[in-house]
Symmetry: none
Subunit: 402 residues, 2 copies
Amino acid sequence: MQLHKLYSSLAIRNNNKIVVLVIDGLGGMSHKDYGYKTELEYANHPNLDGLACRGTTGMLTPVLPGVTPGSGPAHLGLFGLDPISFNIGRGILEALGIGLVPGPTDVLARGNFCTVDEDGAITDRRAGRIPTDICEQRLALLRDIHVPQADIELHAVRDHRFVLRLKGTDLDGDIENTDPGTVGAKPKAAKALSPRAETTASIVNAFVDQALGRLKEQSTANALVLRGFSMLPNIPTFHELYGLRSAALAIYPMYKGLARTVGMDILDCGKTVSDQLRTLESHWGSYDYFFIHYKYTDSCGEDGDFLSKVNHIETVDKCVNSLVRLDPAVLAVTGDHSTPAGLRSHSWHPVPLLLVSPTCRRDGSTAFTETVCARGALGNLESKYLMGLLLGHALRLQKFGA
Amino acid sequence: MQLHKLYSSLAIRNNNKIVVLVIDGLGGMSHKDYGYKTELEYANHPNLDGLACRGTTGMLTPVLPGVTPGSGPAHLGLFGLDPISFNIGRGILEALGIGLVPGPTDVLARGNFCTVDEDGAITDRRAGRIPTDICEQRLALLRDIHVPQADIELHAVRDHRFVLRLKGTDLDGDIENTDPGTVGAKPKAAKALSPRAETTASIVNAFVDQALGRLKEQSTANALVLRGFSMLPNIPTFHELYGLRSAALAIYPMYKGLARTVGMDILDCGKTVSDQLRTLESHWGSYDYFFIHYKYTDSCGEDGDFLSKVNHIETVDKCVNSLVRLDPAVLAVTGDHSTPAGLRSHSWHPVPLLLVSPTCRRDGSTAFTETVCARGALGNLESKYLMGLLLGHALRLQKFGA
């Protein structure tokens, strides 16, 4: 039985509230410039440490040991879904990132403008990273292209990147990338990887043919490639699965989108973590489960900015007591994945987890750091088990078997 | 490959003896009235601590994180069987609990007497929890009911509860509960959930029709509902799987019954843990594997009686050295699940595990508590892996692969 179905089969309703604070990219790596500490070890966070003292800790492995997750699988894991079974395609994720709300029958793809020579061979896969306004101008040339059997939408993302959205009734995303992945090659025709995607592949090719005709006069960004054709995975909602009325307090579109895929209500929550927590407080009575997403730790990690990541951890720490005052039945603080400043990217390192609840077994943790959490009583769990721990501690799972 | 089949494929025989002491409901939860200690942390158990010093420790998760097991799945896990694949139904477990020995073709169900109004709608689902002797009187009214194709047995359990046993050759337990689960509704007809259970469902309905006719003159307990229709799962024996001659030293019928499902001999072992250990000693030469079950820790947890649970842990501790003197090749001390007094019920919390063997790798554990075991070298394992650890440390598993 799939894990979420097991948990779902045991779920019962009560009034116990669950709050999950996701500090994006929380985990770090020993950094030689800072005494071989991680950002979390270097930062001063007395309130999180205090929570650790009266809770239990552990580590979450987002997917599997050594595997670095994208934001999609990392969050699906936190939401109790096996990130290997439920794959969120790049096209869908890119769309979520700019605030689109894909419909269940839409096909989404990530597009790149590229530059080709007179023979159509790619000379620059990113068209010199044209500014976003040039991307917008190129998309304007393509917006009135019509093809049978689908409506086409084009949305600029940033630089040379855009999203292609196909809206229709019989579409399928099982299509190979048209991006050959190398200079010197020509963009490929869209090719269906299964018979059910044949129609969609021909729609894509009809669009691309017309688009290339309209772009060929340009000296750069005179062609396009598409990748990550995908549809929304068929994901059950938190309410269907667990009877949870759930809400997301996220500032960035992608995380709102990810929360929407599991049926969370998206609350308008301002721009800072203080705004988020005020919003939480004002909606406290209306939901059973709150997902709070804090982005900036990840951004600083991606920038390689150790000290800024430290600062953002300290900012979260200053706010966390206002969460505690709401007295949730279960409060979990963790990340979706690690983003060590030393790597300037997501990483595979497990993520520290802190869980506080009147029903928890205190484990003697005295701080909230990777080193402490790695010895915490919850052990090292795949992220997909977090949902069971939350529901268990909230007394929202009935006994399994007689 | 299923786990028990893997272990089975590697099993070899030798004279090394394995003893597993299961302290039922052993694990606890931090209790605010006792310095946020668990029962095991609060108790004084120098002998168990001494064993920890010369052994290795870890934690067992009975099913999966957050999942609270019933006694059936909790024990199947300890016996090396995946508790999700091998499900013991409520009817079977109830029968085991009163000492019945279900045959492989029997169907068992748990019955409740209830009270219905003149229209047949339930007014009290438990018939005012009639005393057991009234339950016996009602069953006496039903004992000579005959239906084609099955023999019927009725056994009082306690209060309004009884066990229905159908004996026949072509029966199947895949039948929906007749209990509507709510007052105001009428008991439902038994409905087969698969074609192979059609005959059994009609047998049940023929019985219930006659039973209702005989009960209708009563003012209370004048109807019945049935739930948990089930058959013995097809479980291989310890001898078939591992070549182990195995014996159970359990006082309560349910645990004898669970041990019998994996082919253990049930030894008559008196009423106290001292009696159990004397029995063990006198049968020492006849078996390879001994399962000793200590019940009272769980009962006290269910009663919410923290200090009595502490006392019972201390009682076990005083006896444990007589086990050690027998010098088993492997001695494991653990629980089937946690029963924190603070919850008055089974819980999902992992269970401490202690393993002592001349072949173990001592891990520096200095006590037998949840906090120490959570940091033990065995890590946090699903209970179903215990069997492999026992066999491995007893040198009863040959090398896997070349």
